[in-house]
Symmetry: none
Amino acid sequence: MFIGEYEHTLDEKKRVSLPKAFRTGLGKKMVMTRGLDNCLFVYSKSAWEKVAAKLQELSFAQADTRGFNRFILSGAAEVEADAAGRILIPDHQKEFAGLGKTVVFAGVSDRVEVWDATAWKSYKARIEKQADAMAEKLGEIGAL
Amino acid sequence: MFIGEYEHTLDEKKRVSLPKAFRTGLGKKMVMTRGLDNCLFVYSKSAWEKVAAKLQELSFAQADTRGFNRFILSGAAEVEADAAGRILIPDHQKEFAGLGKTVVFAGVSDRVEVWDATAWKSYKARIEKQADAMAEKLGEIGAL
DNA sequence: GTGTTCGTATTCACCGATAAACATACTGGT
DNA sequence: ACCAGTATGTTTATCGGTGAATACGAACAC
């Protein structure tokens, strides 16, 4: 279970060190793919297998499902942390997520999301405005 | 069951000591999340696990659910009390709740809330006014 | 009123994580 | 084979988190 938010910086070679808090959960080898809302999803190998299995269950018959599959799978890459706990972000993913020098790692249940710091801030601001609607949902599931 | 209100101070490294009254109830490890009305919620580990389990059931296919998950999970952090009974407040949470040097711990049934002292005072003043108005209304109709 | 104890606040010192800089190894091209 | 450019690995410095020690103050007992 990943939770929390961490800000790190890309070096000039597109490497970032993973937040300490996520290293054990992700393991050495992980899978990084295009996510939704212009961020990247990072899964541990085992979590990725579950996601991949779910995607396979989706019918081939529907055009939108095929598109979704392509979106997720073709954008995926296996990445490995080096001795210093850094991962290398592939070019196309860096571009996809519009990553600048500082990025944000966000833990969201079974995945870690990678955001451009600026994009993250504006997204968060938008989400926070919907706090009232959130509150209702929280009540529904009995969280609060 | 947490009750009561305590004022403590943050040191220059964003640590606060937990009120003695809450320590046993929260345990050593706890989870702190963004709450409503710009305060933070602190749950014991066991209470949090219940919330987390419910959140995991939600799909990531829907935009509002994704936002909801991100709001709660990325805004959360696992914190651990040190030997002196202090916890470290992460940067983004300190910012979210607008915490200054003095903060207020408020016990609210199964969770503890953390407020900036000033915000707490004005919130309380607002609530108290509403309580008076409500009492009057209740009196009018003979309820009290 | 004085002394004692417990909880909180403050300070300092240390260690580890991160980030930047640097060095080495590799690749493709000429 | 050599060079340029790029990728990968290593080292060092800085900063923030962490733990320990001390100081302060309130509550209680005598």
